[in-house]
Amino acid sequence: MTLPNKYSEGNQGIQHKFIYAVSWLSTLSGWLAAVMIVAAVVITCQMIFVRSILNLSTIWQTEAVVYLMISATLMGLPYVQLLRGHVNVDLIPILLPAFLRKYLYFLTLVLSVSIVLVMVFYAFEHWHLAYERNWRSDTVWGIKLWIPYLALPVGFFLLLLQLVADFSAVLVGKDTPFGLEDK
């Protein structure tokens, strides 16, 4: 498996190992997301075939593909973070001198980590409730809802790890705040 970021390579020190391990996890998660999207494509086509050619019932497909897409989005979060694929507007950082930029980076990181922590915590609670009470979807298929809900805490937790790994990369000097070059 090839890792997309140059800074994820190397093996000196605990931080480097951590960064490497996390980018490996994120990449794995990204693969999973891609597989889920492809599965959604195939299942949708299967549904069209079953319905229009075989004229049979399609009970589970609509729900399955929607849950696959949601899970793919959540599992894709850490991978896209690793690829720097989440668009951002770095207007203020560009305007700031380098030392202030560092503080702003730290501040945005604390805010990001906090909100992701909130998501992880309540997502886990939500998932646990669905599991404990055996909630199902209100359809004939009636899938156990803890299965699709599982991607919520897991995806956000991996995103949390990736955010911390990105921060470590800045700390050990493998990356700069916001990926911007020093002036």
Binding site: S52, N55, L56, S57, I59, Q61, T62, D138, T139, L145
Partner: protein, 305 residues
């Protein structure tokens, strides 16, 4: 004090009017209580409203109770084919031991009912009329509700699962041959433009859906006695209005379809009996197998004259 009520209906829907009526009456009672309505899905999506109410994050909602059937399987009885015969029967069900049993399930989730109410619905066919089980054999159908899907599948139809907003497109392109949903949805999604024949809820109807105004129980109990009394009085008034309007709704939808040049079919008592016999073998059976105390609940419902 302010209560928050969320629902999915538009401003001219009777379910909004019911909610608005409760809000207006409570305000007029002058007991330091206001109800703020978030309509048209502006706060929560339709199926996401039950859980916040049961956990006290939202105070009130007006939803089809069967939306929460995945959490309390007993609720599936509130959208079961042939269980309700007409609106007056529905009103008697609302006050019966059956409803008391359902309300006991709600209490487990910390939810109470303020306003009871059932709405009816029918069938629309793209190419032909749908009145009896034989009519749906080999058709691609979209039904509102799990129990109806099971019954239609038992009649030999193929079930296409899709959102109600997709019915129009699906019927237009021929993906669907027929659909079954509430009278108001048939009108609001303009299904009359795509159907040849409409079987509305009339003297005999198959499709009734229980859509109560719910409130979080703890929140209600924390109100002072004057506020509680005002809320209950408002709800009583709204419930009478709800029943009256629900009856008008079916006739109104029939009129819309007739004006659009759609043939209007009628379901006879014999058709109804055929559907019900089929439902007993399919959806009732599945329900009883699925829910531990299902048979007892079903008997309670069937006992209502």
């Amino acid at each position: 004090e302010e209560l928050r009520l969320s629902h999915q209906w538009s401003n001219n829907d009777i379910r909004h009017q019911v909610a608005q009526m409760v809000a207006d009456e409570v305000k007029a009672a002058n007991v330091d209580l206001t109800i703020r309505i978030f309509g048209s899905k502006s706060l929560f999506k339709p199926r996401e409203q039950y859980r916040p109410v049961s956990r006290g994050q939202l105070d009130m909602t007006l939803i089809p109770l069967s939306y929460a059937g995945g959490q309390q399987p007993a609720y599936n009885l509130t959208l079961m084919p042939g269980l309700v015969k007409n609106h007056d029967h529905a009103a008697r069900l609302s006050g019966s031991p059956f409803m008391k049993a359902i309300e006991a399930k709600m209490a487990e989730d910390d939810v109470i009912v303020l306003v009871h109410g059932y709405l009816a619905g029918g069938f629309a066919g793209k190419d032909a009329c749908i009145t009896k089980p034989d009519d749906v054999k080999g058709l691609q159908m979209r039904a509102a509700g799990k129990s109806f899907e099971q019954m239609l599948a038992g009649a030999g139809a193929s079930i296409a699962s899709m959102a109600s907003s997709e019915i129009y497109n699906a019927m237009q392109t021929g993906v669907l041959n027929g659909a079954n949903t509430s009278s108001s949805s048939f009108v609001s999604y303009r299904i009359y433009e795509q159907s040849k024949c409409y079987t509305p809820a009339a003297d005999v109807a198959l499709w009734f859906m229980y859509q109560p105004l719910l409130m979080n129980k703890t929140t209600f109990e924390n109100l002072n006695s004057e506020q509680q009394a005002a809320l209950l009085a408002a709800s009583k008034k709204a419930q009478a209005f709800y029943l009256l309007e629900a009856k008008k709704e079916d006739a109104a939808s029939t009129e819309v379809f007739r004006k659009a040049g759609v043939e209007i079919a009628e379901m006879t008592q014999d058709d109804f009996d055929q559907w019900r016999a089929l439902a007993k073998e399919t959806s009732y059976k599945a329900f009883v197998a699925d829910v531990p105390d299902g048979q007892a609940l079903l008997d309670l419902a069937l006992a209502v004259e």
